[in-house]
Symmetry: C2
Amino acid sequence: MVKRNKNLKKLKSGYLFPEITRRKNKILETEPEAKIISLGIGNTTEHLKPYITEALVDGAAGLGTPEGYSGYGDEQGMTQLRTRIAENIYNNKVEPEEVFVSDGAKCDIGRLQLLFGNNVTIAIQDPAYPVYVDGSVIIGATGEYKENTQGFDKIVYMPCTPENDFFPDLKKLQRTDLIYFCSPNNPTGAVATKKQLKKLVDFAKANKSIILYDAAYAKFIKDKDLPKTIFEIPGARECAIEVNSFSKIAGFTGVRLGWTVVPNELKYEDDSSVREDWNRIMTTIFNGASNIVQMGGLGSLEESGLKEMQETVDYYMENAKIIKEGLDELNIKSYWNGNSPYIWAEFPGKDSWDIFSDILEKCHVVTTPGAGFGPAGQGFIRFSSFGHKEEVIEAIERLKEKL
Amino acid sequence: MVKRNKNLKKLKSGYLFPEITRRKNKILETEPEAKIISLGIGNTTEHLKPYITEALVDGAAGLGTPEGYSGYGDEQGMTQLRTRIAENIYNNKVEPEEVFVSDGAKCDIGRLQLLFGNNVTIAIQDPAYPVYVDGSVIIGATGEYKENTQGFDKIVYMPCTPENDFFPDLKKLQRTDLIYFCSPNNPTGAVATKKQLKKLVDFAKANKSIILYDAAYAKFIKDKDLPKTIFEIPGARECAIEVNSFSKIAGFTGVRLGWTVVPNELKYEDDSSVREDWNRIMTTIFNGASNIVQMGGLGSLEESGLKEMQETVDYYMENAKIIKEGLDELNIKSYWNGNSPYIWAEFPGKDSWDIFSDILEKCHVVTTPGAGFGPAGQGFIRFSSFGHKEEVIEAIERLKEKL
């Protein structure tokens, strides 16, 4: 008989978010009338803006005409979109051929794990977006899960906590092939400064490591001095890949559009090109993002679309401010720097899942338990600012009243 | 430094279709005026029909309204679409929870390879859709490429040729964990009969193998006696996974929508559920097909949409008939059974890439060299019926004139 993939066997129970959904549904079974508000999963709630909607509608309608129809496109994405991303997001600091359009950052992370295979060592920020760990387990790059460390063997966890200003102590860090790094960070909301990122790039270059830089929240950065892409840092083109997404900024969580930049300078030990292998992965087991959706991406990067994306970002950031101020009033210590849609709240000495359940049961508010993002997330709760403003206000009111 | 993934190193040059594009572009460099007609890649050319277009347009427009907006959906697909697929395509012989909606069959095949990992043995029809082999190489389930056999070590190639009626001789076949099987076949166009599929299912059950059944062309089957899904065969629910697609039937090659059925009865050696592991893969490294596109899928499976899909199938089948008749007139032996969009032409003793180049250079018609699909494809050329009818007619005229 066919043996179960031993890597899948290693995984811990469910992926974080399905587990949260299960717990939420349990509440609804006993209290079907409960009006649950979610500040949990980073799921956009505001409908698409008119210009971007029109771009999608036009893209769909065009397919119904002989002139507008297109079948398979380039697996790497429409040239026009790759060019626009290079121009607008990267000020032409990357080439269009280095930009690979996709159906989203999560899927690209899975494909990057396939690209590098199971014979690499890995460092991950702790806490971190669960896909870095779970995908690495699935591809077989890790050992078994150890209860005592609450982590997987063969993964180097880089604690990012208030104590180290959410930036790993690189002097103590052992060398790995890959370093996952997310800024603005999910879940902590921390944004690395130019100085910090410079340290990271220098560390990667000195160690001949590759940084997998997740910039999915870069558009939430308001401070002009904070880097919005790793490619602002000298030397990054020789040591970094950047993953990015339209999900949160254009409201495309369900629409599905992202991209990955693999610079031409990035090489393996044998001097062969990482970009060429990535191209092979993308053309072999991927078939391009939807042509309709790519038209929406193009619209988003036109002047009117950019304005609409900024409005969307501003809306959620207003929510973040409301949450932060509410937690302050409740005397719950929390971290939020005004450049991220996530607020990281600290409950010293408590178990994350207990706090999560407490908030869920008492206030009918869904959050995300910090421990779900890694051992260093224990004792923390992530509040997401993705929600309708009036619900965010109500959620905070409930917290004030019932917690 | 980071070592290149040894599996990617094993791959042969480019993926088949990019290689064809390169050769086509070479012609255009020297003859920029050449009007090249493609009967090569199976790429749909006819614009979407009105009802299906409207479903997509409505899906997109809805996202611009508070009532119609949706963010992340279930990674497995909209319940309504899973239900409709179970009802309409499978006559309720599969459960909605066994249907996983995706961004296409090619991507699902890549994820299935990740599901089973590198510790499985594999049998593949020869010739076959290149993704079965290339994806298996990337995940590390194969050995090195051997020039003498023109194949990869550790893959069992099942020759499917006119001599064995395009169906493998199962009596001689060694047991493998996975058996890739595609019907209607890409590239040969052969369709397995119920009797043949029964033999295959019995073989898989006796050997405790899992069949990965690619039914992407099932809607092209006209003969009522031929099975349109492997789940018509008793016992298939214990040994088969089916991959399917809207690409060719709804014109969704660029729109991206497919699905995979993993029956609840399918188990690993340890009696654990394959479906549950597939669910874990889909929720961890995938984030659902685009919500807009899924609305188009729903429209396609309503009465008007089904009618439109049938018209699309009929259009391409008319092209197939034109190609078949043209090849007959040219006394080129070819195989086409009236149930597939591909015609498989035989040029005994000749090299596929030579015939390909000959047709491309003399007639400016792109085909697909059979050898690109595996060693048993040598001496064959695949003609695809996906094209504008007037161009298909012209291509055949050129063949008659210049070949």
